[in-house]
Amino acid sequence: MVADIIHSVISAAVPMIFAALGGTFTHLVGKLNIALEGMMLTSSFVAIYVADKTSNLFLSLIACFGACSVYAVLLIIAIKLKANIFVAGLAINLFSSGLTSFLMAHLFGSKGTIVSQNAPILNKIELPVLSHIPFLEKILSGYNILEYTAFVLIFVCYVLINKTVIGYKIRAVGKDMNTARNLGIDVDKMTITSFLLSGIFSALSGAVLSLPMRSFVTGMSNNRGWIALVAVIIGGERIFVVVLFCLIFGLFTFLSNFLQLISKIPVELLMTIPYIFTVLMMVLYAYSTRKKAG
């Protein structure tokens, strides 16, 4: 039972982990990517649309990367034009909610849900290595391919940020842009790289929402992008802290879903759980760091 719950919590956290990894890169160059939510939403639609047309997981992911890269480029242009990055991000969020409902109506003639019969089925993969270890087997095994990708990418990101030249450069830009420039770091290139990486991860976070369910629902991302952003702000450059907070937020999401099944508490009130507790985490974190600082 406990193992099953942990398994579900991790599954609930995976979309946020992807989004938060993406958000971390832009946060490292000193820009908060408000558009995570919109990228996620568009990507989950594109994933289902292309998967439905081609029944090919790979093509579907490529299309998601493409869509999110377009958004990333729009954000980069906004930065180049010295526009407010928050506002550009909000614009993208609005755009994606308009675009997805428009395309849903236009391409599928539906306003609520689309279910794809042709989309590839993402099987749960049991890891043979773990099959004899009773507790870990249930927690760490039995995820789909995208979820395993998330686990791998956490470590890839850790190495990329902490152990590679490009990671150092990106962090240097975020710490002090002028110093970085004087040291001969190409600030623009680092900013562009981090936004494109952010787009790629957001694309995955959208795909992991819709593809396993083989369906898309209006507003599917359901503000997970915003909650991931909170994890990004709290964690900063400490990737594992970011992931930890995503898991905590995954727990809230899980609770909100789980209690809808087993309790009689009204759905609307349960839906507030992720938001209220996320704000609470922000407050607690801010309070604890302020104490440390004296």
Partner: protein, 348 residues
């Protein structure tokens, strides 16, 4: 100087207008089977008769108020992304109060309802301000998340205790007609709340421009360290600005309910909050320019509706066009560039 800035603003606004209709037309052109009719209705529908015109004008009222809400928050250098939730929750509370006020004199009950909406919306926004001041929690995210939670809470009450059992959807009972704003241009939705909206934007303009508080808000917004050294209680200014901002949002939703819907319905205000932010940005934080900006957004909305009735257009077109404008406005230097002005020639 003022005229000069204004003329420049007008140019950018006209540019935005043109882009909006080109963008909408292109989308319709690629998706509609009968594009010319559709485009004509999209561009001219709202002014084609008094019914659509009235609806367009009344649709702009909540946007004027949320636009003002965003203007006030921006002026103090704060981001209030919770407008959507503040508006929704405040409107809900005001509606419930209105339902209990039956039989009161009109000139007493309407101001009271609006007052309740203002206070509730204000408190909801000020809560993020408190978190910002006490714990340095970013109000950008906290206001948004709290706003979302408030939407669900209001939905719970609308669906449960306060639901009208005879309504086919989640909605409250109808507010008594004596508390409603009177219609100006029947059968359209235009109602006398439009004067309230105009009056409020004039008041906000004078407060921001000429009052002591307005000065403090502006100084805090442009540089809060400087404001602090100048003896301005920055924390207090943030709090007041967020309170006023949330209050405006609350008024926007409530005027909409008292003027158009007559009851609180689930999801009636979707998009007012974020579009208000866009309106404020197009208006470049000027409370008077908020009015034409809101009209533009409402025009697009009604244009899309009309062309979806008269032709085969999906009404979501307006959302895409609005978001495109939103994006282009962020890159205002792009607009400057395209209309042949040097970037940053006027500072901001």
């Amino acid at each position: 100087m003022f005229m000069k800035v204004n003329r420049r603003w007008l140019k950018v606004f006209l540019f935005t207008l043109v882009v909006a209709f080109i963008c909408g037309s292109v989308i319709i052109l690629t998706t509609s089977k009968n594009p010319l009719t559709a485009i004509r209705w999209f561009c001219l529908g709202p002014v084609s008769n008094t019914y659509f015109l009235g609806n367009m004008l009344s649709g702009s009222i909540p946007l004027v108020l949320t636009g003002l809400a965003a203007v006030i928050a921006f002026s103090a250098g704060t981001f209030n992304l919770g407008l959507e939730g503040q508006l929704y929750f405040a409107t809900f509370c005001a509606t419930i109060v209105a339902l209990h006020l039956e039989g009161l004199v009109r000139s007493f009950s309407i101001p009271l309802i609006l007052f309740v909406a203002f206070i509730v919306g204000g408190l909801a926004a000020a809560f993020s301000g408190v978190l910002k001041i006490l714990f340095r929690v970013d109000e950008l995210l906290s206001s948004f998340l709290i706003g979302q939670a408030l939407i669900y809470i209001a939905d719970y009450f609308l669906n449960g205790p306060f639901r009208d059992p005879f309504a086919g959807l989640s909605a409250s009972k109808y507010i008594s007609g004596s508390m409603m704003f009177s219609k100006i241009l029947p059968p359209s939705d235009l109602h006398s709340g439009v004067f309230v909206a105009i009056a409020i934007s004039v008041v906000v303009y004078f407060v921001l421009r000429f009052s002591n508080l307005g000065y403090q808000i502006k100084v805090t917004g442009s540089n809060h360290d400087f404001a602090h050294y100048g003896g301005i209680k920055v924390h207090w200014v943030w709090l007041v600005a967020l309170f006023l901002s949330g209050g405006m949002a609350g008024l926007g939703g409530t005027i909409d309910v008292l003027g158009v819907h007559g009851r609180m319905m689930k999801g009636f205000s979707f998009g007012y909050g974020f579009n208000g932010i866009a309106v404020a940005l197009i208006a470049r934080n000027n409370p008077i320019s908020v009015i034409p900006s809101a009209l533009l957004f409402s025009y697009l909305e009604v244009g899309a509706q009309v062309s979806s009735i008269m032709a085969d257009v999906t009404p979501e077109v307006s959302k895409i066009v609005q978001a495109t404008i939103f994006y282009l406005i962020t890159a205002e230097s792009l607009a400057d560039f395209l209309i042949g002005k040097k970037v940053a020639a006027h500072g901001r």
